[in-house]
Amino acid sequence: MPTQELSYRDALRMALVEEIDRDQNVFVMGEDIGRYQGTFRVTEGLFQKYNVEQNDWRIIDTPIVEPGFTGIAIGAAMTGLRPVVEMMTMSFSILALDQIINHAAKIHYMTGGQSTVPMVIRGPGGAAKQLSAQHSHSLEGWYAHCPGLKVVAPATPQDAYSMFKQAVRDDNPVIFTENPGLYTIKGEVTTGPDVLQPFGKAQVLREGKDLSLVAYSRMVHVCLEVADRLAEVGISAEVVDVRSLLPLDTETIYQSVRKTNRAIVVYEDWKSGGFGAEIASRISEDCFDDLDAPVGRVGGLNVPMPYSRVLELECIPNADDVMAAVRKLG
């Protein structure tokens, strides 16, 4: 299968184009995604390609009304269409929470399996750069709290590609969150019509024996940096990329912890009550006898995201914060 170097953003776009081409039921809707080509340029060129050159109504610019267009996508999905809804930032999905939680997530259940909602809600989640308090939320933990949704947070261009294709083909509503800091990172990507990454499978991105660093999305890269720094001082850290929050692959996490006997969970979301707390709790509950130290947690500061770059960087966990947590483990 062909392999090429792609940015996270280009990998996403390539997967999106392939899925639109593969299935007439797939369409994209969101704010500024068509003529303006997307605030983060994930949909660059698509309006021209489909709506203009092919005269096919596949890329749909919406008014700035998240509840309304999310609801329209849900209704369309109930008839078997496969909408990909872009949230300009995941922070705006808060407006559509009623549609996502009260409607999309419940439909298969409330209809007793008569209907499915094959839709993807994707967009940047987490802090970009000085977008301040209303545009920087990490909401994946909120969504992963809700049965009926699937929630994924890929960290690499390969997973952006193969998990996105998987998401489009999934018959359930999928929240696909992309940390804005990831769009420009590059990596080798194996591509192909059926290169899919099934959900519910964590991956070990770096093997180690002394300590497990468990993370998802951009924090995976922070953990990889920490593992490099620890290697310099003779500590061998394993990095587990959770990548799928719901369903959650606890087994891969537990296997790592059983080997290393120490774990730190790293997440950008507010530390208190974030999804990392769920992971930490499970490790404590199910791997208690394997642990040589309490499970560590590094999360975002429990404050609204400030505008000042200095203060913003204070909020987002970095390698130093994780190193401090490692030292605390003893």
């Binding site: 609801g71 329209i72 209704g75 409607h103 409330m110 007793g112 008569q114 369903p247």
Partner: protein
């Protein structure tokens, strides 16, 4: 049939066979009956809020499965996991059955969006109440329906009460049909109590929407004889007995009976025979529904996802 079915649901509620919230359609029957008569069965889409027993009965759903669902039994359309507010019969194009006031209105636009996307000539009817007509998401839906020329008919069933709050206390403009005008949507206020008139209006408008592929908004004036829900035992807090009595004179069923009698279209004997037949039928539906078993505990995990089970256990 709807009237007797809903009466029986009320009885079942009082017997403790129905839990939670239940909202009956008594008094409003002519609206759904008249409008449905204008639709292509199994082709056009219908979606409504939580006062949702009548539509599936009219659209050809199995009434036993409807009542079993209302009773939370495994023989219901959703195996007892939806309940009174969440009846669905997707095969017959009935899309529920929704509990968040106004929340289903974009879904209605979405059904119409799908028809347009596929270049099908389906029409969608999206019912909502006067209370829901204030919801922001409804205005968002109107805007997009007009923007994209979606073949959807929004029917505001103005039964004069948003739960227990009278129209003039919840709507700045009580002429609710005007909600469509800012968006350039053709809008009308129509009667909802005279089933023959409703049907004639419905045929005219459904045909127009199918032909012109544009949205339409109708405010239908009807009246909820019953309380908001079965748990609403304080109707006198928001309306007087006299008002209720006065409106009972508008009863769509009595009106139709009177019409049939006065025009010698049906004899009193025939009418009585039909009434007896319906009552027997509803009794049989009730018996079958009440004998449907409760779901097994393990069924709680089914249908959370289409392709996997959720995590189990407390």
């Amino acid at each position: 049939m709807i009237r007797r079915f809903e009466d029986k649901c009320n009885i079942a509620y009082r017997q403790g066979l129905v839990g939670g919230y239940m909202h009956v359609y008594i008094g409003m029957e002519a609206t759904a009956v008249g409008w449905n008569a204008a639709l292509k069965p199994g082709w056009d889409y219908v979606i409504t809020a939580y006062r949702d027993h009548a539509q599936p009965l009219i659209m050809g759903s199995d009434p036993v499965k409807v009542m079993a669902e209302i009773m939370g039994r495994s023989g219901g359309y959703s195996f007892g996991k939806g309940g009174s507010m969440h009846i669905y019969d997707i095969e017959n194009c009935f899309f529920g059955g929704w509990g968040i006031v106004g929340g289903h209105t974009p879904l209605g636009a979405g059904l119409a969006f799908a028809a347009k996307y596929r270049k099908e000539d389906r029409v969608t009817i999206c019912y909502l109440g006067d209370g829901a007509s204030n919801a922001g998401v409804f205005f968002e839906s109107l805007n997009m329906a007009a923007l994209w020329d979606l073949p959807v008919i929004f029917i505001i069933e103005n039964n004069e009460f948003a739960m227990g709050t009278r129209l003039e206390y919840h709507a700045a403009d009580t002429q609710l049909y005007k909600r469509g005008e800012p968006f350039g949507i053709k809008s009308e206020r129509l009667d909802g109590m005279d089933v023959l008139q409703v049907k004639a209006d419905a045929e005219r408008i459904v045909n127009w929407v199918r032909e012109n592929q544009k949205p339409y908004l109708v405010e239908v004036m009807n009246y909820r004889f019953a309380g908001h829900g079965a748990a609403d035992n304080d109707r006198q807090l928001y309306r007087t007995k006299e008002e209720e009595d006065e409106n009972t004179k508008r009863d769509p069923i009595a009106r139709l009976e009177k019409y049939l009698t006065e025009n010698n279209l049906m004899t009193a004997e025939k009418m009585e025979a039909i009434n007896v037949e319906i009552e027997e039928r509803v009794e049989a539906i009730y018996e079958e529904a009440v004998n449907s078993p409760h779901p097994e505990p393990h069924e709680v995990y089914a249908h959370v996802y289409s392709d996997m089970e959720p995590e189990k256990g407390h």
